[in-house]
């Protein structure tokens, strides 16, 4: 159910907005994390935990920690996570 919700980028961004309390626009999905207002490295850790809880699968943690944008994270955790970058 949640997995379906996050299959497309828009649903994923919605979920992340809620979880992290970030005011992300769709355009910011591709922006480097450092350019996001209120970005904090703790957000990535929280995202790892959140994504595992929501999808019921383990997340490739080291790859997520190296990702530079929401779009990259989404690509890593969506079903065919091969098109990152």
């Amino acid at each position: 159910m949640s997995r379906d919700r996050m299959a497309d980028l828009a649903g994923f961004l919605d979920a992340v907005r809620d979880e992290l309390g970030l005011d992300l626009t769709d355009e910011q999905a591709a922006a480097d994390f450092d350019l996001l207002p209120d970005w904090d490295s703790v957000h990535l850790l929280r995202m790892v935990m959140f994504l595992e809880r929501e999808t019921g699968r383990s997340v490739p943690v080291s790859s997520v920690l190296q990702a530079r944008s929401m779009r990259e994270v989404h690509a890593l955790v969506s079903a065919d996570g091969t098109d990152a970058r």
Binding site: G21, D23, D38, V42, L45, M49, V61, S62
Partner: protein, 637 residues
């Protein structure tokens, strides 16, 4: 779905979080009123709130609400500490405290704690939390390593932590919170010799035990034992986050640690609650007395009764340590009295309660009556009830009172009651252990007062004896506690935490006086304190405290009269005093003038300053016997 979280997000989204800050604590109280949800989910939501609150600038909140209490909190650690921030900010906000956070340099915790001039020390934090994971020992090990290596490494770390605790005592401020070290399986099982593995467990526990015992020698040190927290939260860490990000604990353990650290702070800020108000039906027993009758309720060793028996045993255990117990129940009073007196399965009896409010009035009325009867503020009450509507009513009408949510599963009641350490205190004193008995003596006084015509006759009948002298060493914890618990007659509102009281007592320039009161109904114990120092222009009274238990008997006047007479006998030119208004001490504003003190300029900031020229000292009230020994050289009677 948690409405409170959505509302907080809406405030944040509208940019109104600073302006709406007074709404935050009530929102968080609603968010935590979720007794049937797993605690970890509520903790997750609190962390989400903390993430929003941590982005607030304290100065923005203060610009809107200048009287918001601010706490400077320092976080340092051997490993990464960033994940502690959000839960810590949220826990502080639950208690109405606005966090000003200072973070130490990564990995430089020993310098942060021991260097007198470190950034951390310069900010004078009221609370310093130092996060230590097992890596603090592991990184000291050679490869390959033996259990003997672990023993040596842990001893070296212990030496450093002892130095850090000592340095904190010398030039630190506030309280330092350390944690015990979790022992991960991925460490123990690297030793294949099963006997040696057992020994490793012993060595590790010896380190933790020594760390916990350090608190006996350092009054400003608290050590949070992580074992019971991990038993609740599950895994202490996530191997991936530990290796990739040097994060020593799981998010759930960070949240639990934040909660405990704030309990330590709360106890030292005088925020310890005094009275636990319990509902009866489905809180202290299974069933509804009015419908099921005394034979239908269960609180003994039956399947349904056992969880309630556990709640009653817990309440009895708390009461033995100074927590006052009271009842607020929608019931007819007669049947409740009968159950408290006669029901064979009850652990708690009428004598265990200082007030039983069994009637059909709204519960906020009952809680007000309890607080008024005890002479304490509604803020000092903790109200536990299994009915959500009653809890919502009390939260709305008595926002200062604390509400503990009890859910549909009674087996969780005891854990819910203990979840927030509402009654935690730095030290339990003899006074705490005698407290319920003293409130019952107070009830006997009320009976006398009702049977005797004038108040003066009543006071004379009481035969009050006041004994003033410097506190003995064994009384210092009580002196500190009195400053933490006393609000109405606390003439400056100042709190003196345990380590500070020892310093004051050892300082030859300071005068500490303990005030003890007894009367025909019993010994009220150490109920008052005077803090003073000598100056070239006479004696300066820095603060005076009197427990509400001893108010309205002229004790404060007797004490101050004795102090003035003593000053005159020693030929001092004057006695100076100061008063600072707080939320609770308004009624004591006229105390110094009533004894002939006159306002003395210049005023010092928020303080009112007074001076007494000792020419005209009022007499000790006639109903009091005052035994004063200001030099402390008379033997105890």
């Amino acid at each position: 779905m948690t409405g409170a979280l959505q509302e907080l997000r809406a405030l944040h989204g509208a940019g109104r979080l600073a302006a709406g800050y007074p709404e935050v604590a009530p929102l968080l109280a609603r968010l935590t009123d979720a007794p049937d949800r797993p605690g970890t989910q509520t903790a997750d939501d609190l962390t989400r709130c903390g993430s929003l609150l941590a982005r607030l600038r304290p100065d923005d909140v203060l610009a809107h609400h200048p009287h918001t209490p601010v706490v400077t909190v320092a976080v340092t650690g051997h490993s990464a500490t960033a994940q502690l921030t959000d839960p810590l900010v949220a826990e502080l906000a639950r208690h109405g405290l606005l966090a000003r956070l200072v973070t130490g340099d990564h990995g430089a915790y020993l310098r942060d704690l021991t260097d007198a001039d470190s950034e951390l020390h310069r900010c004078h934090p009221e609370l310093t939390v130092c996060v230590l994971g097992s890596e603090a020992v592991l990184e000291q090990l050679p490869l390959p390593w033996t259990v003997a290596d672990v023993e040596q490494a842990s001893q070296r770390l212990m030496g450093r932590l002892e130095s850090a605790a000592a340095a904190h005592g010398t030039h630190g401020s506030g309280v330092l919170v350390l944690t015990t070290l979790p022992l991960p399986r991925r460490l123990t099982h690297q030793i294949v010799d099963q006997h040696q593995r057992a020994l490793l467990g012993a060595v590790w526990r010896e380190f933790n035990a020594r760390l916990l015992r350090l608190t006996a020698a350092h009054a400003a040190l608290a050590v949070v034992d992580l074992d019971p927290l991990i038993a609740d939260t599950g895994p202490a860490d996530d191997a991936r986050l530990a290796l990739y990000t040097r994060s020593a604990f799981s998010p759930a353990l960070f949240a639990a640690l934040a909660r405990e650290a704030v309990h330590v702070l709360r106890a030292r800020r005088g925020m310890t609650k005094k009275c636990l108000v319990l509902d009866l039906d489905n809180t202290l027993w299974h069933g509804v007395l009015g419908e099921d009758g005394p034979d239908g309720i269960e609180c003994g060793s039956t399947l349904r009764g056992e969880p309630y028996a556990a709640v009653q045993r817990l309440a009895k255990q708390l009461a033995a340590q100074g927590v006052l117990l009271a009842v607020s129940s929608k019931n007819d009073p007669g049947p409740v009295q009968d159950v408290l007196r006669d029901h064979p399965d009850m652990t708690l009896r009428a004598g265990d309660f200082v007030s039983v409010q069994a009637h059909w009035e709204p519960k906020d009325t009952a809680l007000r009556a309890i607080a008024d009867g005890l002479g304490i503020a509604v803020d000092a009450l903790v109200f536990a009830d299994d009915t959500a509507a009653e809890r919502a009513l009390v939260r709305r009408r008595l926002p200062g009172a604390t509400v503990v949510p009890l859910g549909a599963e009674p087996a969780w009641h005891a854990a819910r009651l203990l979840a927030d350490g509402w009654f935690d205190t730095p030290h339990v004193t003899d006074d705490d252990r005698a407290r319920t008995g003293r409130y019952q003596e107070a009830a006997a006084r009320v009976q006398l007062r009702e049977s005797i015509g004038s108040y003066e006759d009543y006071l004379r009948e009481l035969e009050v004896v006041v004994r003033i002298s410097p506190p003995g060493r064994h009384e210092l914890h009580r002196m500190s506690q009195l400053s933490l618990r006393t609000n109405q007659f606390n003439l400056t509102g100042e709190r003196v935490p345990p380590e500070r009281i020892s310093e004051l007592s050892a300082d030859p320039g300071r005068r500490l006086l303990a005030v003890r009161v007894r009367d025909r109904y019993g010994d009220s114990g150490l109920v008052g304190a005077v803090f003073a120092h000598h100056g070239p222009d006479g004696l300066h009274i820095d603060n005076m405290l009197l427990s509400c238990r001893a108010l309205a008997r002229g004790v404060e006047h007797g004490c101050m009269t004795a102090v003035l007479s003593h000053a005159r006998a020693r030929g001092l030119p004057a006695v100076h005093a100061r008063y600072r208004a707080t939320r609770a001490n308004g009624r004591s504003r006229g105390f110094y003038p009533s004894l002939g003190f006159v306002p003395h300029t210049p005023a010092d900031g928020e303080d009112l300053l007074f001076r007494h020229d000792l020419a005209d000292i009022p007499a000790v009230p006639g109903h009091l016997t005052v035994e004063a020994d200001f030099e402390g050289d008379t033997d105890e009677p």
